[in-house]
């Protein structure tokens, strides 16, 4: 939903930026850049155009990115309220822009004229660009600018804010780039005159903005509705959840798999390590894997496989992890042609290749060794492999799951265990820097880098000493502590296997005693 919001808000921002050309500063910029130095120094004019454009992009990104960052600090607990208010603001601004209402509150300020005389033209124009890109330092020509500020805040996603800001900055730069270079010798002067004499075009742009804001309001309202609290699930003695289309399966500790179709009573499956994907459900027995129709449980395909201890399925593929004397192996099999098999990963030692999670033909899994922790994605159709997250120190990634381009996974440090929701395409191939000393990415915050959100944060489960020996002073020692927890035994709960559904995330919580496991849901 936020993808749609980002696109509609960005298009609205471009138009709102263009509408800003009808402001005193907008006209001044065209004239300043296009005529201040005359045709003899066309190169300087072009340089000024470039720096002006860079400035507007920067200014826009600063304003709207900062507002979105501010929104992300509000916390997910009130995300629905935040998005609802954003939708209301967008709707009100849409009505006002459609009707051409006089802008209020208006900012009756202009960029400093003296810069034009005291600074080199490219530098002055860069600074002018920043001020215009900031949006609220000079005249505002559409309610959409105010609304976009609210939308950025409501999105709570800095990436959305930056995209909106860049679009707004581009919109502010476009009219100047279009007219300034030809102001003396080309069509620039005529265009400027037409613009000055045709406010109807400006009003037309405001109506386009109104339409864009309407779409934004719908997107935010949808996000707000989906952020409404949902019934929490808690399944005792359960692990390894898998979800698809409202149904949920899990492994009952010490027993087999259970299937809960759309909130109905759970059904026992004739096997273990169950998985859901598309219209399929799969389970494993000691010698084979069965892929069946999710509704009727009628088997569609049976594969010979032994030692299977993890399973994932989609409409087109099944991926399983098995273990034998040579170690563990992660293997993908095409359901349309079971002869097509791909060996995805393996290890001589069990436990290093994580549980797989499929979404369509994409599978994610972790590969963890003492040298590196990595979240890997393989496109099964082409065999392309990507490292989505990786760390060589301080951080480990566990238990990913996929749905519609979003990835749920766990990020664990010495201080904290976090359940995070991010994009698959986000920081592709990026290595995760270990947390800085004293601020090791700990609990108490819903912030996470690179468009990720923290859905659940728990203190680490390890035992820690206080960082000093008894009987000795212990000043100057903050770097070895954890701000979110003290010394002694850690949290009693350890996060384990996950599943991602449209409205919920599921995670397994392991207790301190063996076999003490439960699957709980967390709102996305």
């Amino acid at each position: 939903m936020l993808g749609g919001l980002a696109v509609s808000a960005a298009l609205t921002a471009v138009i709102a930026g263009i509408a800003g050309a009808w402001s005193p500063c907008g006209f001044s910029m065209v004239d300043t850049i296009g005529s201040a130095l005359g045709d003899a120094r066309r190169g300087a004019t072009l340089a000024a155009c470039a720096t002006f454009a860079l400035g507007t992009l920067l200014g826009g990104a600063i304003t709207f990115g900062s507002l979105a960052l501010l929104g992300s600090l509000v916390g997910d607990g009130v995300a629905g309220l935040r998005e609802g208010l954003g939708a209301a603001l967008a709707l009100a601004a849409a009505v006002a822009d459609w009707r051409g209402v006089r802008i209020a509150p208006q900012i009756r300020r202009q960029v400093p004229e003296r810069w034009r005389w005291t600074l080199p033209l490219p530098l002055a124009c860069a600074l002018y660009g920043v001020l215009l890109g900031l949006g609220f330092t000079t005249f505002v020509l559409a309610f959409a600018v105010w609304a976009l500020a609210g939308i950025s805040f409501a999105s709570g996603d800095p990436l959305v804010g930056v995209v909106v800001g860049l679009a707004f900055g581009a919109g502010r730069a476009l009219p100047v780039l279009w007219m300034a270079p030809g102001l003396r010798a080309g069509d620039g002067a005529r265009r400027l005159d037409e613009m000055a004499e045709a406010p109807r075009l400006w009003l037309g742009l405001r109506r386009l903005d109104a339409l864009g804001l309407g779409v934004c309001a719908l997107a935010l309202a949808g996000a707000s509705a989906s952020a409404a609290p949902i019934a929490r699930t808690r399944i005792a003695q359960a692990t390894d959840p898998s979800a698809a289309n409202g149904a949920l399966v899990w492994q009952q500790v010490g027993a087999g798999g259970l299937l809960q179709p759309n909130g109905a009573a759970p059904l026992a499956l004739p096997g273990a390590h169950p998985a859901l994907g598309g219209s399929n459900v799969a389970w494993a027995s000691p010698t084979q894997i069965t892929i069946a129709d999710r509704g009727s449980l009628q088997p569609k395909l049976v594969l010979v496989a032994s030692g299977v201890n993890a399973l994932s399925v989609s409409d087109g593929w099944v991926v399983y992890r098995d273990e034998d004397a040579q170690g563990e192996h992660l293997i993908a099999v095409s359901l349309s042609d079971p002869g097509v098999r791909r060996y995805l990963a393996g290890s001589r030692l069990a436990g290093r290749v994580g549980r797989p999670a499929l979404d369509g033909a994409s599978v994610v899994f972790t590969v963890n060794t003492p040298r590196r922790s990595a979240l890997e994605l393989v496109e099964l159709t082409g065999g392309r492999r990507r490292t989505l997250r990786a760390a060589r120190r301080g951080v480990a990634f566990f238990n990913p799951s996929l749905l519609g381009g979003r990835m749920l996974f766990e990020r664990v440090t010495r201080c904290v265990q976090q359940l995070r929701l991010g994009t698959v395409g986000g920081p592709a191939g990026a290595s995760s820097r270990s947390p800085a000393a004293g601020s090791p990415g700990v609990a108490g915050s819903s912030r996470a880098g690179r468009g990720e959100r923290v859905l659940l944060s728990l203190p680490s489960a390890v035992t820690r000493d206080p960082g000093y020996q008894r009987g000795y002073t212990h000043a100057y020692n903050s770097a070895s502590g954890c701000p979110n927890r003290g010394a002694g035994r850690g949290g009693a709960t350890q996060l384990a296997a996950t599943a991602l559904a449209a409205r919920s995330a599921y995670v397994t919580r392991l207790g301190p005693a063996a076999g003490n496991a439960e699957v709980v849901s967390v709102a996305r």
Binding site: L349, G351, R393, A396, P435, A475, A479, S480, T508
Partner: protein, 181 residues
């Protein structure tokens, strides 16, 4: 020169004794081990440079600079979990921990404490020199984690310590030898 009378001789002797006592105390202070009260954070660590960030707190490392749990010297990974030789988390009895499906829990990175502290702070750090002190009946090697920095991990001005070639101490760690003392 003064001629020695019995009284003058006594005063000279007493003065010399006082001077010798003072000098001796200085000499003694210079030779004997430091007062334990002067140590910061843990035995053997003088000055106020903070510990290097460590998975379990006290910056105890093995001879390869990899983290150990201070309480018992058990190897730990970067998450602070006690591990076996293959890096798998183990319980208090050294048994590999299993998930509910019976699969061993996944390993996590285990990195050298000093360089890792540097990378966390945008520095290239290394262990340069060391000093040894007797702690708890064993010789303890105090290792300075050094780099080209003027600031130490706790934010104060970095000292030269046992760092060479212009490097300064960023943080400290220690290695417990097997040598009794």
């Amino acid at each position: 020169m003064l001629r020695r009378s019995s009284r003058r001789g006594f005063l000279e002797w007493a003065g010399a004794a006082v001077i010798a006592l003072a000098g001796g105390r200085t000499l003694v202070n210079g030779v004997l081990p430091d007062d334990a009260e002067a140590y910061t954070n843990f035995c053997g660590h003088t000055y106020t440079t903070g510990n290097c960030p460590h998975p379990t707190g006290l910056p105890r490392v093995d001879r390869h600079d990899l983290p150990l749990r201070a309480a018992d010297g058990h190897p730990v990974d970067d998450l602070g979990r006690p591990i076996d030789a293959q890096g798998h988390p183990v319980d208090a009895h050294g048994q590999v921990l299993l998930d509910p499906s019976g699969v061993p829990l996944a390993p996590a990175p285990r990195s050298k404490v000093c360089p890792a502290a540097g990378r966390s702070h945008g520095l290239e750090l290394r262990t340069d020199g060391s000093w040894y002190r007797c702690c708890g009946g064993r010789v303890r090697r105090l290792m300075d984690c050094c780099g080209y920095t003027n600031v130490r991990v706790n934010g104060d001005e970095a000292l030269v310590g046992y760092c060479y070639q212009g490097r300064h101490v960023f943080c400290v760690q220690y290695y417990e030898t097997m040598v009794p003392c």
